[in-house]
């Protein structure tokens, strides 16, 4: 399973990548939307964990780009905006609030990639 983590908070995303790898999930990191697009051009990913608010390409814009490049890719949004508030186009997206609970994140990742497995 190939995962990419995208957030402009470098230290945060690095820590998160390390913690995931300790739990057996290898993840690439990208510090901006542009970098994520560039990486996605070379590597196919199963899942992307995206921060919503980033300088440059925002989370939702990045979603569009990634889906264009890899239609099968699954997405999880991470936001500092607190409680999940989804509307309209994003009603089917998965949101997690910062600060993250690592167990919740891993569970969500598994559920997103294998929705049939309970």
């Amino acid at each position: 399973m190939k995962i990419i983590l995208v957030d402009d908070e470098k230290k945060f995303i690095n820590m998160l990548a390390k913690r995931l790898s300790l739990r057996g999930l290898n993840a690439d990191v990208a510090y901006s939307g542009e970098e994520a697009v560039e990486k996605a051009a070379h590597t196919p990913y199963d899942l992307a964990v995206l921060d919503l608010k980033m300088p440059g390409i925002s989370g939702f814009a990045l979603k569009q780009k990634l889906l264009e490049m890899q239609p099968e890719i699954k997405l999880i949004f991470v936001t500092g905006h607190g409680a999940i508030d989804k509307n309209g186009d994003h009603s089917d997206d998965i949101f997690l609030a910062k600060p993250l609970n690592i167990d919740t994140l891993i569970e969500t990742i598994h559920q997103t990639i294998h929705p049939d497995k309970q």
């Binding site: 908070e9 230290k11 998160l16 607190g82 609030a97 910062k98």
Partner: protein, 587 residues
């Protein structure tokens, strides 16, 4: 601290009278003193509606009084005039009869007692009222006499009536007693006999006949009709002044050939309207003044009674109108007060919600900024813990692990606060979309899957098959359900139950019932659970915002939330939502 708007008054009658000053509301009221408005409105209504009535009554009374007065004057004048005419006729007729006799008969025939008696007899027959007849020569000697008294040979030279009658052609005396000691009137005519000597034909008139004629004009006991002489001495008896020859001490009315009426100035009960007339015949001015007195109060009695009845009616009408005015004013002022109160409350709520929105924006801003460093702390501490956990080196160092757990717990607590603060601000913006409630609930329950298994909680979800997708704000509904389900999970002990039931109440509403078998909410807390910052879970990271936000959100979704709870048994939250939100309420 933000105060929750309170319902300050009920829709009650007279609410404004029991208005309690509330400094929060007072600044939003249009009027401050409703009692004053009430009193002023009663006064204005009373003055405008009652004054014309009172004025009309007053004018009416005056008109009635004037009409009665003039009627009385007219009546008195008529009676006086008629009585005067008949008095005049009475005297004139007899004077003319005497004049006819002296002109018709020669002197010698007149001084013949037998002949004179025959004339008297004829006069009595023809006119009535004659007592006797006599012929008196210029020296005052009675030449001939016929009548019931023995007066033959009397000399009247010194008698005042004789002196006056010898001076004029015709004479009518006052009433006097004279030699015979009986009240009588003398009428006399002067003539000249064949020898050129002056003589007088004198007749005595019975006053009874005169009085009878006069009394025939007395229509009732309250009318006094009498004759007096030019000095005010009674010539006939008066019911007011007494017997004949009594001095009345009345002011002698001004001489007039016409009938006149004097009105008294005061209106006391005993006041008289007086009609008077000097009795003047064509030939001679008599010494009589005819007086007619009518007691005003008696004549006006009927009218005054009518006036009194009228006054009663007006009085009662005024009273009834006052009652109606008071009731109407009270009703209107109360309505105004209630409307103003509602307006003030709405404005206060608006201001408070604006304050809340402002505070919410600020809180959300701060929360958002804090979330990023918080996330970093979380991951760093988490990573440290991972390092210890996944490497054997410090795996059993309990102190390090404990401290890391404390940091992570604190971060998680901060996360809850910031998340709820962010939720707080979202109350103020509504975006609607079609929401499948079942899907929403399943999604939320997924978050609690682990807890469900761990605690052995039995969760059932029952969705009525015909439940439609509802048009509402997905995020807000999700937050509402998340909060309620979270609360339920926190309350439920191991092996408890959580039942979620969704039912449809056609046409417009759905019910979502969240029932837990948790610890329940004590009675005294039930009223306060929707107050911001009220929490009984201080030990368990409660911020006191969860249910407050939930209540606010449900209201924003145009729904209702109801809670039933019994301590130790469980709690049921019932959320009622419209299937389709009304557009105008979108903010």
């Amino acid at each position: 601290m933000i105060r929750t708007p309170q319902i300050l008054q009920k829709q009650e009658w007279l609410a404004f009278l029991f208005h309690r000053h509330n400094s929060h509301l007072a600044s939003f009221h249009t009027f401050s003193n409703y009692r004053r408005i009430w009193i002023i409105s009663i006064i204005i209504l009373a003055v405008t509606s009652l004054s014309p009535l009172v004025m009309a009554t007053f004018i009416n009374q005056r008109l009635i009084r004037q009409a009665v007065d003039s009627e009385l004057v007219l009546q008195t004048e008529r009676v006086t005039s008629n009585a005067k005419r008949s008095m005049r006729f009475f005297l004139e007729e007899r004077l003319n009869a005497l004049r006819f006799i002296v002109n018709e008969l020669p002197y010698y025939a007149l001084i013949d007692n037998t002949h004179l008696a025959e004339i008297l007899s004829n006069l009595k027959l023809g006119f009535g009222g004659f007592t006797d007849l006599s012929i008196i020569d210029a020296d005052g000697s009675q030449v001939a006499y016929t009548g019931p008294f023995n007066l033959e040979g009397k000399n009247y030279k010194t008698q005042p009536w004789f002196i006056r009658s010898i001076e004029s052609d015709n004479f009518i005396s006052e009433v006097f007693t004279g030699y015979r000691d009986v009240p009588h009137i003398i009428i006399a005519v002067r003539s000249i006999n064949a020898l050129g000597r002056i003589f007088i034909l004198r007749a005595t008139l019975d006053t009874q006949r005169l009085m009878d004629t006069l009394l025939s004009y007395k229509t009732n006991v309250h009318t006094d009709i009498f004759l007096m002489n030019h000095t005010g001495v009674l010539q006939t008896p008066s019911s007011t002044y007494g017997k004949i020859f009594t001095h009345t001490h009345l002011d002698i009315p001004e001489f007039s050939t016409r009938t006149n009426v004097i009105q008294p100035e005061n209106l006391s009960d005993n006041a008289f309207v007086t009609g008077y007339s000097y009795i003047i015949t064509e030939a001679v001015t008599t010494p009589f003044i005819l007086m007619v007195n009518k007691k005003k109060s008696v004549v006006m009695g009927t009218w005054l009674n009518l006036g009194q009845t009228f006054n009663w009616i007006i009085g009662i009408s005024c009273l009834v109108m006052m009652i109606i005015i008071t009731l109407v004013s009270t009703f209107m002022v109360n309505k105004l007060y209630l409307a103003d109160n509602t307006k003030a409350e709405t404005m206060m709520k608006m201001e408070q919600s604006q304050q809340l929105a402002g505070i919410g924006q600020l809180a959300a801003g701060i929360a958002h900024e804090i979330n990023n460093p918080l996330a970093l702390i979380n991951e760093t501490a988490g990573y440290l813990k991972d390092l210890y956990h996944y490497t054997d080196e410090h795996q059993n160092d309990e102190e390090v692990m404990e401290n890391l757990d404390t940091i992570l717990e604190a971060v998680s607590r901060c996360g809850t606060i910031t998340s709820q603060l962010l939720g707080f601000v979202r109350q103020f913006d509504v975006q609607t979309s079609n929401v499948d409630v079942e899907k929403l609930i399943t999604g939320i329950l997924r978050f609690h899957k682990k807890e469900t298994e761990y605690k052995g909680i039995h969760v059932t979800t029952e969705i009525a098959p015909e439940t439609p997708a509802i048009e509402t704000d997905r995020g807000k509904l999700q937050q509402v359900l998340l909060n309620l389900i979270n609360n339920a999970f926190q309350a439920i002990e191991a092996n408890g139950c959580l039942d979620i039931t969704v039912s449809h109440l056609p046409p417009g509403h759905i019910f979502i019932e969240i029932k837990d078998t948790g610890c329940g909410i004590p009675e005294e807390n039930l009223k306060r659970i929707h107050e911001p910052f009220f929490s009984t879970k201080k030990e368990k990271m409660g911020t006191g915002l969860g249910l407050s936000i939930t209540y606010g959100l449900v209201k924003k979704l145009q729904g209702n939330i109801r809670v039933e709870s019994s301590e130790g048994v469980g709690t049921i939250f019932t959320v009622t939502l419209p299937v389709k939100m009304k557009k105008e309420d979108k903010t």
